[in-house]
Amino acid sequence: AQSVAQPEDQVNVAEGNPLTVKCTYSVSGNPYLFWYVQYPNRGLQFLLKYITGDNLVKGSYGFEAEFNKSQTSFHLKKPSALVSDSALYFCAVRGGFTGGGNKLTFGTGTQLKVEL
């Protein structure tokens, strides 16, 4: 069975500082990894994904994530945090890429709080 772990319930960062939101995964075969963000009272918005290719993936709003196969990690990063980045972040994994085939499994979420 596939799974995702987000070890931090909350991450606090000062505006302008770099941020990291951690994610590790377990899946059979090649992983397909995703980050989503959820603002209060809103649905989930897709940030970025790793399917294949470069281990460093760049996404929306200046976010990036690094796929590390040996450590089975896919940490989300941003060089300089903004107060507007404060939201709930979900890491997700699926074990295949067939249309409608494999399920997307989500982590428990990490609340990011960026303060002035």
Partner: protein, 117 residues
């Protein structure tokens, strides 16, 4: 404009009643997925809805409690039946392919926040 629209966006319901949530997509999609997000928790897949066949339910979810319809390639409904306070959650509709393109990620509606008293 919204690509995936859900109605209602929120509702307060009485115990024992049922509520139907609608999901409308502005393009034809193969599969539609219904997720539940309980307060302070992650997303859990309820079922996968295919047009022209019965929905496929995940472990722990049954058709009697969460009947799903998928009458065409742009629309689906999820009913939460005989509600109890434990059903208070955000229910999210999602799709995999938009305008016929599958890119791996899911796209989500804004969610329907149900509170059961």
């Amino acid at each position: 404009s919204a690509v995936i629209s859900q109605k209602p966006s929120r509702d307060i319901c009485q115990r024992g009643t049922s509520l139907t949530i609608q999901c409308q997509v502005d393009s034809q999609v193969t599969m539609m997925f219904w997720y539940r997000q309980q307060p302070g928790q992650s997303l859990t897949l309820i079922a996968t809805a295919n047009q022209g066949s019965e929905a496929t339910y995940e472990s722990g979810f049954v058709i009697d409690k969460f009947p799903i319809s998928r009458p065409n390639l742009t629309f689906s409904t999820l009913t939460v039946s005989n509600m109890s306070p434990e059903d208070s959650s955000i229910y999210l509709c999602s799709v995999e392919d938009l305008r016929g393109v599958v890119t791996g990620e899911l796209f989500f509606g804004e969610g329907s926040r149900l509170t059961v008293l």
